[in-house]
């Protein structure tokens, strides 16, 4: 075993893990906020996330065909794309809630969950339908911005691209904005009140339906931002590529304690790091016997173990069980 190699790749793996972790954290926020308010797993959130990536790529391709992609300074492009992706995903999340979840709010618990699974599948093929009619292709590649691909060589084994810094910076910025909204504004107080006790909140004059819509809007927008960053970082997207990251992000939310916003961030980072290390080191340490794909098994086994032994997660409150 090549110990020097194992140590040598460590910083790069750490960086990859942090990027992946922030991505998971952003997606996990959507799950955790909705769960906090409705005690319901928004299964379609993985597609809401990937729709953000598609809106982003469409805006970029649109700018490109208008010749503006290289004409505008890259931060402006990036902000435009982010805002468009967030708006697209946020509005989609609100629509989905209105159409498929609200009519079922008082139904037995499994019913909205099944409806959410249906929406998730429907959206996957809907994206495919729209893109294949519009562009005759549904595997889309993010146009590259030269500035984003610049790399700084920090040490011999570690180089950081502008892209990675943007992803990390963008994710941190989003998390900070969300933190401010939830903890420092009137709306945030209302969201927390509804999560605590819907009936009491409505007695205090809070329009519960509006707050629930708003929760979906904010969670969806975070997912959309994650989608755009995902596209910028990894380049290739297709309508089905949201599913597995969505599931992982849900795992992250559970890991941190579902319903708990800082928990989602911690859970995302832990899971991202674990996966990056598993993907790089498992195969090296076992002489190729266990490949990188076992990282999925690791993530799902972790989900199972947490749910069984510590269902409240790393930082969570006790999960309320409703039959």
């Amino acid at each position: 075993m090549d110990v020097a190699l194992l140590i040598g790749i460590f910083p790069q793996v750490l960086l990859d893990g942090i990027i992946l972790g922030f991505m998971y954290a952003l997606i996990a926020l959507g799950y955790t906020m909705v769960y906090g308010v409705l005690e319901f797993i928004n299964f379609a959130h993985s597609e809401i996330f990937i729709v953000g990536a598609f809106v982003g790529v469409e805006v970029m391709l649109g700018l490109k065909s208008a010749g503006l992609l290289d004409g505008l300074p890259w931060p402006v492009v990036l902000v435009l794309v982010l805002v468009a992706g967030m708006a697209g995903s946020g509005l989609l999340a609100v629509t989905v809630e209105r159409v498929a979840y609200r009519p079922l709010r008082n139904a037995p618990r499994l019913i909205p969950l099944i409806s959410a699974i249906g929406i998730s599948f429907f959206l996957q093929d809907m994206i495919r339908l729209v893109e294949s009619l519009w562009r005759n292709a549904f595997n889309l590649v993010y146009p590259t911005l030269d500035a984003l691909n610049l790399r700084f060589e920090l040490t011999e084994t570690l180089d950081v691209s502008v892209k990675s810094l943007v992803v990390i910076g963008g994710a941190l910025g989003m998390l900070w904005v969300l933190h401010m909204i939830v903890n420092r504004t009137k709306v945030g107080t209302a969201i927390r009140a509804v999560a605590e006790d819907q009936a009491a909140a409505s007695l205090m004059g809070i329009d519960v339906n509006r707050i629930i819509s708003l929760t979906f809007l904010i969670g969806g927008a975070m997912g959309g931002a994650a989608g755009v960053l995902f596209g910028v970082q990894y380049g290739l997207i297709n309508p089905y590529s949201g599913f597995i990251p969505g599931l992982k992000a849900f795992t992250a939310a559970v890991l941190g304690g579902i319903g708990n916003i800082p928990g989602a961030m911690v859970g995302g980072l832990v899971l991202g790091l674990l996966e990056a290390f598993a993907a790089s080191y498992l195969s090296l340490l076992t002489g190729g016997a266990f490949g990188a794909e076992y990282k999925d098994i690791l993530a799902f086994s972790m989900l199972i173990l947490i749910l069984i032994f510590r269902p409240k997660g790393l930082l969570g409150e006790v999960v309320r069980e409703r039959a």
Partner: protein, 397 residues
């Protein structure tokens, strides 16, 4: 009386029509509709059962003799009916939402695929494999047993979970099984990874039946056994215990229902039906790989159960038939039809169909079909098309 005549006429005419237009999807759908009508119509029981027997035992194989594709569709329907009935026990009766159900199908399929192909020599060494086709019948039972055992193994750790958490964990379990099937080609090559296993032995057929007919009859036989077992279970104390758990776990426990044993039994029973059909599937296909056992399949089976009505046996059968036929025939048929129109240069409202993007293939939209079924059923008819009898009584009271 009118209904009796109508049922006989419908079955006869539609079978005749299939013989005349062997390539028409619509006519074959009419034939399937006639079977449904014979089942639902108010006619004497002897007539009902003889019509069903004639349609399934005589007419269907005869149709298949002229057009093997329809027999393939019918066999697929049979496989999915058994899967839907198995999932119906877990989801419909016991109320445990299992999103990784196809894993048990995979376990059954791989258990015969490995020993029924030369691949087993790679694992065990020597030259003693593949096993002769006759072992297939024993492996129908082995597959059933292995799948049931897997069901218990899954059930044990998740006993404490409820509702949506259980759903997500079973989903994860299904993915784990698929990833394992994809990656267990090293360090020891168990599954041959994404390349899959082939050729898988088939049993010698009795009476020189062609394999199409043979697998159709075998699937039909298994479905009949599964239906009988299901009916007995539903009305036994076990079935009642499952429904009690579904309605209120706490109350069920208070009334002395042994929760652990009953939940494990639900997982094992549901899994065993998938296991036996998995064995049949692998022999029918000769080739299997992990692609046949994805999350999409699990959701497909769930959509069947939901469409027909959770907890309802006729519902699960109807749901499996409708969804399979939709996927295999209607979507594909629509695709073919559209292509013909395209090639003929037809224009609709001034838009030439030849301009349709090539990537638009209606046959590929099964997810959309499943999704629409799930959402619409949950919003407008959560009890399904044929609600379970016991549930129907509850709803009307």
């Amino acid at each position: 009386m009118i209904q009796s005549l109508l049922a006989v006429a419908l079955t006869g005419v539609s079978a005749f029509a299939v013989a005349v237009y062997p390539r028409s999807v619509l006519v074959f759908l009419l034939f399937q509709g006639s079977i449904l009508f014979a089942y639902r119509a108010r006619i004497p029981d002897w007539l009902r059962w003889s019509l069903l027997a004639a349609a399934l035992l005589v007419l269907m194989p005869a149709i298949g003799y002229y057009n093997g594709y329809y027999l393939e569709v019918a066999t697929q329907v049979g496989i999915f009916v058994a899967l839907a009935l198995g999932l119906n026990i877990v989801v419909g009766l016991a109320g445990l939402l299992d999103l990784g159900y196809v894993a048990f199908f995979a376990v059954g399929a791989y258990s015969w695929a490995i020993v029924g192909s030369p691949h087993a020599n790679v694992i065990f060494g020597g030259e003693s494999f593949p096993l002769a086709g006759g072992w297939f019948y024993l492996f129908l039972l082995v597959g059933l047993g292995v799948a049931a055992l897997t069901g218990v193994l899954l059930g044990l750790p998740v006993l404490r979970l409820h509702g949506d958490y259980l759903a997500v964990v079973t989903l994860g379990f299904g993915e784990v099984i698929r990833v394992l099937a994809n990656n267990l080609d090293k360090p020891i090559n168990f599954t041959n990874g994404p390349k899959g296993i082939t050729p898988i032995s088939r049993p010698p057929t009795p009476l020189g039946l062609p394999y199409g007919e043979y697998f159709y009859f075998l699937a039909l036989l298994i479905v009949i056994v599964v239906v009988l077992v299901n009916r007995r279970l539903e009305n036994s104390h076990i079935g009642r215990a499952w429904e009690a758990i579904r309605e209120d776990e706490l109350a069920a426990r208070a009334m002395g229902v042994p929760l652990v044993r009953m939940k494990l039994m639900a997982f094992a029973c549901g899994a065993s039906f998938a296991g036996i059909m998995g064995v049949l599937f692998s022999a029918k296909q000769i080739f299997i790989n992990p692609e046949s056992f994805t999350f999409l399949e699990s959701i497909g089976v769930l959509a069947m159960v939901i469409l027909g009505g959770m907890g309802s046996i006729p519902g699960a059968i109807l749901g499996a038939t409708v969804v399979t036929v939709l996927n295999l025939q209607v979507l594909k048929g629509f695709s073919l039809w559209l292509n013909e129109l395209k090639n003929a240069g037809v224009t609709v409202l001034g838009y030439s169909l030849a301009d349709l993007p090539t990537q638009f293939e209606p046959a590929k939209y099964e997810r959309m079909v499943f999704g629409i079924i799930l959402v619409l059923m949950m919003i407008y008819r959560p009890q399904g098309i044929f609600p379970a009898r016991r549930r129907q009584r509850e709803m009307t009271q």
